[in-house]
């Protein structure tokens, strides 16, 4: 940033100095420096008046002025003109004072009687350069602070928005479950009463039609419940504890079966590795997978359901295998979708939410789900949980 050619580009220096001898020394040096132009005032009050009206690139400051002495002078000047570099100009006994000046904002100090023109020019240029860097730094720091504040505000706003949306969703879920269920209850209830009170007036087709109405109402009730279960999954927090998977899978199987169904099923529960997870949700995983295995094996005279686990490097993989209806691998990408079914309601009942819930729970635990199957041969479902 050395300005040499044009007059208007000259560096305007203001020398605040009351000693004519010292002024002369500086004047002589500036004469040798064509890029600089010097102005002189002899006290702080004139200096402030001058600086108010004139563009100034640097202030040379003596510390023994008639209206201000010592460090206080530096402090006052730096405070008054925070964007103009200040170079302190002191007597040779004032080294400490000079150093202290730099600490409170002066760019450099020159000791009277110990400077030559080159040194003077270098100090002036360095000081101006350093000051402009300092200002740029201060500006970018201020910008950074503003950006930070804006970012924080955005986080606060967004969190509030999300909380409001979550609250709305909860209210929505409640309303859905509450208000949609009432008419369904009336449909099933009054159809049953109709059938009961006017039994003699219905032929078989009439009775079948009433049954269709009732079944549809119940099915829709189930859809509403399943959908609510599924939407609730994303909102609840996980409570992670260690889980005895063997005990859990075994107790779920017992709950889902009766002595009669157990008689028909060969249930093979291996030694399962324990794992950490949310007990309630992992239990739901077993409920959905085991009830699927039972459901899709229901047409077999002798069903087999095999549950096992295999520890891997940083996870445990659990699997449940059945020799039931199976599925076509062609449709594997639809298997875990919400309301996706690979069997008609006529073949096997269901709403198509069970596996979507399984996938959702396992993914929330940081694991994976996958499956293999073959039509009429059976299916194996796998899920992994991190350890």
């Amino acid at each position: 940033m050395i300005h040499t050619n044009k007059m208007s580009d000259k560096l305007n220096l203001l020398l605040i100095e009351d000693n004519p001898g010292d002024v002369r020394i500086i004047e002589e040096m500036v004469l040798d420096l064509p890029e600089m132009k010097l102005f002189n005032v002899n006290c702080i009050s004139f200096a402030f008046e001058y600086l108010d009206k004139n563009k100034t690139d640097l202030v040379l400051l003596d510390l023994g002025l008639p209206d201000s002495q010592g460090l206080d002078t530096v402090r006052r000047v730096v405070l008054q003109i925070p964007s103009i570099p200040v170079v302190v100009f002191t007597g040779h006994k004032d080294d400490e004072l000079a150093l202290a000046s730099i600490k409170i904002g002066a760019q450099d100090y020159l000791i009277k009687g110990k400077i030559d023109t080159d040194m003077f020019a270098r100090s002036i240029h360095y000081s101006i350069e350093r000051k402009s860097l300092e200002i740029a730094l201060r500006k970018s720091q201020a910008n950074l602070t503003i950006l930070n504040e804006q970012l924080e505000q955005r986080v606060i706003d967004r969190t509030a928005q999300l909380q409001a949306i979550n609250k709305e969703l909860e209210t929505f879920s409640y309303t859905v479950s509450h208000d949609l269920r009432a008419p369904l209850r009336a449909i099933d209830g009054f159809t049953s009463i109709l059938l009961e009170n006017y039994k003699s007036k219905f032929d078989d087709e009439g009775k079948r039609l009433c049954a269709v109405i009732g079944d549809s109402a119940k099915h829709m009730g189930q859809l509403i419940d399943d959908l609510l279960d599924f939407s609730r999954l994303s909102r609840i927090e996980l409570n992670i504890y260690s889980i005895d998977m063997e005990q859990l899978a075994g107790s779920v199987y017992s709950e889902l079966t009766t002595p009669e169904t157990r008689h028909r099923i060969s249930f093979q529960l291996g030694n399962l590795n324990p794992v950490s997870g949310d007990r309630m949700l992992i239990r739901q995983v077993w409920v959905n997978l085991i009830s699927n295995a039972i459901k899709f094996s229901s047409r077999r005279e002798h069903a087999v359901i095999k549950i096992s686990s295999k520890p891997e490097e940083n996870r445990v993989v659990y699997s449940i295998m059945d020799y039931g209806a199976g599925f076509d691998m062609k449709y594997i990408n639809k298997l875990f979708g919400v309301f996706q079914r690979l069997h008609s309601v006529k073949e096997f009942e269901g709403t198509g939410v069970g596996l979507a819930i399984v996938q959702h729970i396992i993914i929330r635990h940081g694991g994976e789900v996958w499956a293999e199957g073959e039509v009429d041969k059976g299916a194996t479902f796998y899920f992994s949980l991190p350890i």
């Binding site: 479950s177 509450h178 209850r185 099933d188 209830g189 009730g221």
Partner: protein, 147 residues
Amino acid sequence: MNQFDPVDILIVEDNPHDAELIVRTLQKQKLANNIFVAEDGAEALDFIFCRGIHSNRDKFKPPKVIFLDLKLPKVNGLEVLKEIKSNAETKKLPVVIITSSKEDPDITKAYELGANSYVVKPVDFVEFVHAFSSTGVYWLLVNEAPR
């Protein structure tokens, strides 16, 4: 039904279809001959405290059990419950909360206010009949009321 007859069951339910299904279920079980249905919370309170249009009722013959829906016009179920349970004369009356949803955010609040039981009205009519007849049997026949 004559307004001076003792009432065994008070049903507070704004949905007339739900009310009809409950009444029918209880009558079929021969559980209660005298059932009164209040359609909103304000009427329920008038009935319980024998005031307003129910000022001629006999105060000393309270219902044996109250089936109370939470979502009600005018005065909601929780407010009705609060009044019943904060009054020395009525706080021993068993109150069974009946609701459409197990998602009801007010379940905990209702228990804190002193609800005696909580029943979700099932969509499936077979389950519905089972829920209300067994609840009716319990509160009218099995349970011993304080004297």
